[in-house]
């Protein structure tokens, strides 16, 4: 087991190295519009140096004057020490900006994740126990509709209904107009109030796949021999389903849930952008649109790390939870 984990971690590091290199190369190949814009602005000031000189100076400051490969290793050695440079757009160190915004995304992701589990697992189990019933069709269709709903359209519908027609929520932002005047409790409630729609969007759009996964797995378990045995023993249907079958469904569920833990930090790029919630997703979107290379590099690396961590956790959990697949 230890050897397996060590091997996987080592492999992940190699993959991460390659991924960051590819991303770095790509970023460097893009036109440095941000730097050029900045040089253009600076060179237009009275008595300023010409554009080319500014460009060269800025490129040097940002480490863009080196070739791609030396540049990558400079970036990498800084990154390993936790220094991702200074964000061009936000003009603060990338890590500082990241620390400012990540927790909001994590809270949002965490709440919607818990809600998803609470909705998806019971509904998935019910659907599978009543396979081909009207309820099952309803739940399956509902799950598929959730999967098929484009986030931006659904979010707009929610906004139209709840913000414009009913006026229950604000259209954008995390805090209301009078946030500064509120006491601590009021500020907390204000934020919570602004997070309702984004979280609802997140939950509804992503609950479907977990629901389907639960249903498929539960169906597989219900068709297995030990369930037949349990029924043959004369156990009540309730006990068969919630005691014998459900526990076995948990194996793949735990794996997939464990695997998606890192993605709680990933932030919902589209949802946050739509509601202008200043989490990691929205912040990175703004940075990426502005061509902010240090922040984009950091965000892409961060996402790659999360993906790798997720895969690693789910593989390890799979081996932990299910003794049958334990790898020596």
């Amino acid at each position: 087991m230890k050897k397996f984990v060590a091997k996987r971690v080592a492999l992940s590091v190699v993959i991460l190295f390659c991924v960051t290199f590819i991303i770095y190369t790509l970023m460097r190949c893009l036109p440095g519009s941000f730097v050029e814009n900045m040089a253009m602005q600076l060179s237009q000031a009275p008595d300023a140096k010409p554009f080319e000189e500014w460009l060269a100076q800025l490129n040097e400051t940002y480490g863009m004057d080196k070739g791609i490969i030396p540049g990558y290793f400079v970036w990498l050695s800084d990154a390993i020490r936790g220094d991702f440079g200074e964000s061009w757009k936000y003009t603060v160190p990338v890590i500082q900006k990241f620390n400012d915004v990540i927790w909001l995304s994590f809270v949002m992701g965490g709440i919607s994740f818990v809600l998803q589990l609470l909705i998806a697992i019971p509904l998935g189990v019910i659907a599978s126990t009543k396979q081909y019933s009207r309820l099952d069709y309803g739940i399956t269709a509902g799950a598929l509709i959730g999967i098929s709903l484009p986030t931006f359209f659904f979010a707009t519908l929610l906004k139209l209904l709840f913000s414009v027609k009913l006026g229950w929520f604000d259209l954008y932002g995390l805090v209301g107009r009078d946030y500064a005047q509120l006491d601590a409790m009021g500020q907390f409630l204000d934020k919570a109030h602004h997070l309702v729609l984004p979280i609802a969007t997140l939950v509804i759009v992503s609950v479907g796949s977990l629901m389907r996964y639960t249903r498929t797995n539960m169906l597989e378990v219900l068709n297995s021999d030990y369930i037949r045995t349990a029924r043959a023993k004369g156990l009540s249907e309730k006990k068969v389903i919630y005691h014998h079958a459900f526990r076995n469904t948990l194996i793949p569920l735990v794996t997939i849930i464990g695997g998606s833990l890192p993605s709680l930090f990933a932030g919902a790029l589209i949802t946050e952008t739509l509601y202008s919630i200043p989490g990691i997703g929205y912040t990175s979107y703004q940075a990426m649109i502005a061509g902010d290379i240090p922040f984009s590099m950091f965000y892409l690396t961060f996402m790659a790390v999360l993906t790798l961590a997720g895969n690693l956790i789910s593989d390890i959990l799979y081996a932990v939870v299910d003794p049958r697949v334990r790898i020596a």
């Binding site: 492999l11 190699v14 993959i15 991460l16 390659c18 991924v19 590819i22 991303i23 790509l26 970023m27 893009l30 036109p31 519009s33 081909y132 069709y137 399956t140 269709a141 598929l144 509709i145 999967i147 098929s148 709903l149 484009p150 986030t151 931006f152 359209f153 707009t156 519908l157 906004k159 139209l160 414009v164 259209l171 068709n223 790029l269 589209i270 952008t273 990175s284 979107y285 990426m288 649109i289 502005a290 061509g291 984009s296 965000y299 892409l300 996402m303 790659a304 993906t307 790798l308 895969n311 789910s314 593989d315 799979y318």
Partner: protein, 547 residues
């Protein structure tokens, strides 16, 4: 590895051989009908024949394809999904041909706009008109005003004596050492063409103050008509009046006719007047009086030819028009075409790369497999959405042509989508290659290329079809999301995503539902259709799910 957890045992896979299904009593509708016929007597008895048990005709032969189709059509959701897809395809591909309008055909309409044309102020300050070649500075003006209020007839400034003559109400003239210097009056003289000489102005003002309708200057006779026009013979050389008419917009030339008409209307207390412009069009002007600033403003109702923006649904435009005055329904049709075509091309691209690499990887195993799978791992790790956003923003900065941009978008999405397909193909092939039929192909000496692509890949097709159907849906969503963010398909091309983009304007979101809700529904129906069909196909291909 997590990627081959879901391999189905090879037995489950639909084989190429036709399968024979015993027509067991009570199992198919056909048999029920047969039974009923038997019970119900013999009016059709001649058609009914008894077959011996091992007669081939007693056995219904179904190919695996037919079996799959049978299972597929039994799934109500799948059939619904298929209907939805057919409707959307017809809508997008045939609708565009039927629609009388083009993809980017713009529509125009006339609107009437009230534009402020001119402002009219009644002059209540004395204005000075200075004789040609003389100077009458601010200091003198102040002295004159003082003299006027004190009703003095002269004042002195710098040893020069100025004589003030009162000609009438609010009309004074000043002479310095007997020479005419300036006049001060509340009436204003505006020259029609060339600036009128001082003498003429003086004469006109005098005549006006004395309420005469003509005056003579240098032996030339000028007339003043009742509207205040100064006539030299029959030509209008200027006008006199107490109103100052200023154009509301710089650059507009106010004609004398207009001034006269305004003055007349104001004097008569009329609120409206009609005037022909140079091209002979009749324009209606409305006069409103603003009490706070004591001014009149003249509002012209103009007919303007504009884009028919955000027109409500009507007979001509069933779903109204969009922000550029294009027919919404037609845009939707073309948008569907773009979205579907992009979806298909992207999936085709990622499928071909995935199948080739997955097939090679699974068949050869060993270091080739290892290498390809590590590449897959790397690609799997690259966060695609952020990457596409960055590339989209870069293309914005480079001002890539919309058509080429669409091509790049397809290439990027296709290139980012292949790893999952490669994993699926490889997993299946790993188990398939150990089967007897593969030994047989080897024994027959079939080339490796043929072995992979003629014997292994066809066995993966069912899973591949399911996966492609599902990823068609998600690709369409990705493309729509990008277009919504303004980073995907760009104007003038329509796409469901960039149609919905209009809601970024909150006014459009709240007031023009017909702009974005139909596009969203089209998108939802299409993606849902793909998902329903994919789900149904998965169940149909998987014999374990047999009911």
């Amino acid at each position: 590895m997590s990627n081959n957890k879901n391999i189905k045992s090879p037995v489950d896979l639909a084989q190429e051989r036709p399968m024979r299904v015993q027509d067991v009593p009570g199992k198919t509708a056909a048999h029920h009908a047969e039974n009923r016929m038997e019970d119900g007597g013999s009016n059709k008895g001649s058609q009914h024949q008894e077959f011996s048990l091992n007669d081939d005709r007693r056995v219904k032969v179904l190919s695996p394809g037919a079996l799959v189709a049978k299972r597929f059509f039994r799934n109500r959701l799948a059939v619904l999904g298929m209907i939805m897809l057919i409707v959307m395809f017809v809508f997008s591909f045939i609708g565009g041909m039927i629609s009388p309008y083009g993809e980017d055909e713009q529509f125009y309409t006339y609107t009437y706009m009230d534009k402020e044309y001119a402002g009219v102020v009644q002059n209540d300050e004395v204005r000075f008109t200075v004789a040609d070649g003389k100077e009458f500075g601010t200091l003198l003006q102040a002295k004159l005003k003082l003299a006027m209020t004190k009703k003095e007839t002269s004042f002195t400034e710098k040893n020069v004596k100025y004589e003030v003559t009162t000609h009438g109400d609010d009309f004074y003239s000043v002479t310095a050492d007997g020479e005419p210097l300036a006049v001060a009056s509340k009436d204003i003289i505006t020259s029609a063409g060339e600036e009128l000489p001082y003498e003429v102005k003086y004469g006109a003002l005098t005549a006006n103050a004395e309420e005469k309708d003509s005056f003579e200057v240098d032996g030339k006779k000028y007339k003043i008509d009742e509207e205040g026009s100064i006539l030299d013979g029959d030509t209008i050389v200027g006008s006199i009046g107490r109103f100052i008419v200023q154009p509301a917009q710089a650059g507009t030339k106010i004609s004398n006719e207009f001034k006269e008409a305004v003055q007349e209307a104001i004097n008569n207390g009329a609120e409206e007047f009609v005037l022909k412009d140079e091209e002979g069009n009749e324009n209606t002007y409305t006069i409103t009086y603003k009490a706070d600033s004591d001014t009149y403003s003249v509002i012209q109702e103009t007919k303007t030819y504009v884009y028919d923006r955000y027109a409500n649904p009507s007979k001509a435009h069933w779903l109204g028009t969009d922000t550029n005055g294009m027919d919404m329904l037609t845009r939707l049709m073309y948008g569907g075409r773009v979205s579907l075509v992009i979806g298909f091309i992207v999936v085709f691209l990622s499928c071909s790369i995935g199948v080739v690499l997955g097939g090679v990887s699974g068949y050869f195993g060993g270091w080739i497999d290892n290498l390809i799978m590590r590449i897959v791992d790397i690609f799997y790790c690259i966060p695609s959405m952020p990457l596409v956003i960055i590339l989209g923003a870069a293309m914005d900065a480079m001002r890539v042509d919309p058509q080429i941009r669409m091509l790049y978008l397809m290439l990027i999405l296709g290139f980012l989508g292949w790893p999952s397909i490669a994993r699926l193909v490889r997993g299946q092939i790993l188990s398939l290659r150990e089967q007897e039929f593969m030994t047989a192909t080897e024994a027959c000496g079939i080339s490796i290329h043929r072995r992979i692509f003629k014997h292994l890949i066809p066995n993966v097709i069912p899973q591949l079809i399911v996966m492609c159907t599902m990823s068609l849906g998600s690709t369409i969503i990705t493309e729509a999301t990008l277009s919504f963010l303004g980073l995907g398909v760009k104007f003038p091309f329509a796409s469901w995503g960039n149609i919905i983009n209009d809601v970024n304007n909150a006014y459009v979101m709240t007031h023009y539902w017909f702009i974005w809700i139909p596009a969203g529904i089209c998108l939802l129906i299409t993606v849902l259709g793909f998902n329903f069909v994919g789900d149904g196909l998965r169940d149909a291909f998987d014999p374990k799910m047999k009911r």
